[in-house]
Symmetry: C2
Subunit: 536 residues, 2 copies
């Protein structure tokens, strides 16, 4: 890993020097990304603390009495259609009731684990006839409480529908069951020289069906675009058990309304996604990562605009982190910054291309331009896969490091670029004014950090607390949402609505839009049995 010093000449020596030497004391001590077990909890909040029932945390919330309760006859019917082994009850159902942040806990006594689309259809036909409420669940890695029950909704887990159905190495079209784990699918297509057009921290656990249901954004959106563009087909089961066969493998198809788009981002409220077809781009042979420090948010924006112009077709990520985030992940998770000095901001730039020499040439020219124009203060360039993974681990380790404090209020927002970071500064000030200064004896607020996908205008504002605290929550909400509304931003850029943001939709959508959404929900799920108490 080569250190770029503002004070030293870099010029053409950079590439050579970069290839030659590792930076002493840095490359050792940190290893490549740990293997992630499929199904493992990716976001490990401390498990020792008891999770309160959502119904207790929100006592004003009432169970919808129109829904039936599960009877012995229902259980017999489920066992008949799935086999007893696929019907989970009692203590075994506990894990399906708690979300990954350990913030929400439902009371489902039954979890169904279908193995085929037909079994999902049979479940829905039964639940529709009986008016039993249902929560579809993928990898349960969501951050808005969308994938766990609130009361006694039945959990329909897609975990056993985890196969790759087909892959065409000429077109790059991949067809999978909804329960296929993202990383598994990516590894599968990697063998054919392709890449899954979505990447996110939870890749080892999250399901592709869940990714589509929540319109996950993640790390590669800057390069490959949103799932609305890359998903070609969706197979889903409606509330009444009707199977919608939309598993198109065609890149272009203008025969009628593009109904699959409705399921993308509908969080299980319009249907249960059972299959997905995705267009995978060719995997780039060459990936480079640079990491640098900058002294102002103004300079972060300058570095981004230059990256779009100079790295253009090979730019695949532009992630930024503030000093607080980088220090936190270093202290709590051991992912240390490779730079000697502290900086106000840090940026991770990734390029992906087909030709090593061309890419390094572009990246070098870009970095030299930044140094010469005093945009960046210091930086490193990963020299091998281990260093590249270390830099990514630092970035991807931030959410987990924050969760270790006890609890995190997570705001995942879109704001026009020029005002994006202002929200973090304003939040620190606002919390202090409300009596919750950061890292101060007696204050529950451990840290306030900002990081995210700058290239997409997407900020993650995280407020780490020593435990979930209603008073802090009241100081933050709706204050944060009002701040965003004033700037015509989105109160949920990529995490979705779920339970957490259901009541705040109007900060980003006007009443006319919300009415149209309700109309759609009623048309597709007139009894409201799909993922109730959430979304809309």
């Amino acid at each position: 890993m080569h250190t770029m010093r503002h004070s030293q000449r870099i010029g053409l020596e950079l590439a050579k020097a970069a290839r030659a030497g590792l930076r002493a004391g840095w490359a050792t001590g940190r290893t490549a990304r740990p293997a992630v077990r499929a199904g493992a909890r990716w976001y490990s909040a401390p498990g020792t603390q008891t999770v309160k029932l959502t119904a207790e945390s929100y006592p004003q919330l009432e169970r919808d009495t129109r829904f039936a309760r599960v009877t012995a006859e229902d259980m017999a019917a489920f066992e008949a259609m799935l086999g007893a082994g696929q019907v989970v009850t009692g203590a075994d159902a506990e894990g399906y009731n708690i979300d990954t942040m350990r913030k929400y806990k439902g009371q489902a006594s039954v979890v169904l684990r279908p193995r085929t689309t037909e079994e999902v259809a049979a479940i829905m036909r039964h639940c529709h006839a009986r008016r039993l409420a249902v929560v579809p669940q993928g990898g349960n890695t969501g951050l808005v409480g969308g994938s766990v029950p609130v009361f006694d909704e039945i959990v329909v887990s897609l975990a056993l529908m985890n196969s790759v159905r087909a892959f065409d190495p000429v077109s790059g079209v991949l067809e999978v069951d909804a329960g296929c784990v993202l990383e598994t699918a990516d590894q599968y297509v990697a063998e054919h020289g392709y890449i899954f057009p979505l990447d996110l921290g939870a890749k080892g656990s999250c399901h592709i069906g869940g990714n589509v249901a929540t319109n996950a954004g993640g790390l590669r959106l800057l390069r490959y675009g949103s799932l609305h563009g890359t998903v070609l087909g969706v197979e889903a089961v409606l509330a009444d058990g009707t199977v919608v066969n939309g598993m198109s493998r065609l890149r272009k198809d203008n025969t009628g309304y593009d109904l699959k788009q409705l399921f993308i981002g509908s969080e299980g409220t319009l249907g249960v996604i059972t299959g997905v077809a995705v267009l995978c781009p060719r995997r780039s042979a060459v990936v480079n990562v640079a990491f640098f420090g900058l002294e102002s948010y103004e300079k972060v924006q300058q570095a981004f605009v230059r990256a779009k112009g100079e790295l253009q077709e090979i730019l695949s990520a532009f992630e930024f982190m503030d000093q607080e985030a980088v220090e936190h992940v270093g202290k709590m998770s051991g992912h240390l910054s490779p730079l000697d000095d502290k900086h106000r901001f840090y940026v991770l730039v990734e390029t992906s291309g087909s030709n090593r020499e061309h890419d390094e040439d572009k990246l070098q020219t870009y970095l030299e331009g930044l140094m010469e124009n005093d945009v960046i203060a210091d930086g490193v360039l990963a020299q091998d896969e281990t260093q590249l993974r270390s830099l990514w681990n630092l970035r991807e380790g931030i959410p987990e490091s924050l969760a270790k404090s006890g609890g995190v209020y997570k705001y995942d927002v879109s704001i026009p670029l020029n005002e994006l970071y202002q929200l973090v500064d304003d939040t620190r000030t606002h919390l202090a004014e409300q009596g919750f200064p950061t890292a101060t004896e007696g204050s529950p607020v451990v840290n306030v950090v900002g990081y995210g996908h700058l290239g997409d205008g997407n900020l993650h504002l995280n407020v780490a607390v020593n435990r979930y605290n209603k008073a802090v929550e009241a100081a933050l909400e709706p204050w944060v949402y009002e701040w965003i509304q004033k700037r015509s931003g989105s109160i949920s850029a990529e995490h979705g609505v779920g339970f957490a943001k259901k009541n705040y939709l109007h900060y980003s959508k006007d009443q006319g839009m919300i009415d149209l959404m309700r109309q759609l929900k009623v048309a597709y799920d007139p009894q409201g049995i799909l993922n109730p108490y959430k979304y809309i």
Copy 2:
């Protein structure tokens, strides 16, 4: 322009030689693309032939008696809300009734030309209250008869709503009125170093609102993806006059159902699009075009797979044409192939990147590989903008050259790549068997050609006739659609449904899907006044 000869050594000399010399006799005589006037008819079928009323061509079709007829009171109301100058009647309405292929002709006696979204809303409120049917019309460049009336529907032309509303040169987000002409918008963002992520032959006339309403595909889809991914916001007026304010400028926004997706490709049947926000990518500084001949469809596929691998991030178009298409455009429009010999197939490859040296290096390596492996027989590389435009004019001139014969049956289909060209061969054989051999004394069939966006699996099968002929149409339909259905293809890849394909939807969508579409149409437009007799 350099000629690549299979028989000669190319190696590293290619680039040098290519830069040095133009091919004698070719580069002269053809000029750069002619300027296209905004609003001009792009697809100029001979205007001398009378266009039959659609109602006469399809006598079994009846006017929906639930719709009111325009009265003097309606006219007074329209004049009051728009001003008399924006209400077009009589002979002036004629042009709005005839489609660009001169195949369909409606009987609208009133054309309304609103200048603002509020005026569109007022029109729709009135028409909804009175149950007057409406056809939204953009540039009227569609190829399925979707933008002209069938009976006496009122035409609402967006032509006067043609402004660029805003452009942000940091994010690349462009906001326009629906009636903004595509080429105007592209030229606007070009000044800031950006490119509109859509390009098609009708660019000088088509409106962006119409592009979005029909989910236009075109020439850049391979690189920039579909409008479902690049459109960030849509403003639309519903059947009852409600304005849907979905003009988001955010790249990521997961706050509820993504309703704008429904309007993309709904062809004016759910609402009148009045505004669009699009994410524009950076415009590549360097564009290269190569054109080569190949002796089999198998080799065309090989060239494509290698292009995806070797040109990857700079590949921006991969267009193919058969010998018949290239000879036709040469004969009818004077766009001649630059290659000495005839070849069974031709491919136009375009690259767009940020670094001339890198791009030429990649393209040269790619072309050398094709030559060395006997994939291509001969080829040229455009040496300047004039030559580049000439090659594109040849490709883009094909549809117009076919229209000159009198009429064209156009099939715009998606088929799995390996079987894509088989449809053209099979169509020639089938037509001959049905008594319609190609270019034979007494047969109305002038030519059967195949060309299109190979990179998207999108074939344009065109059957040129000396005039529209019911017997030829009956020989083609539903035969072509059945052929496609057997291969799970799409009977409309990018042209849409409109009037022409309404009755053939079931060849690409099952009944369950069609039922869901109808449900949606009824929910949004219960009186069915928006673009009736079409789509669904």
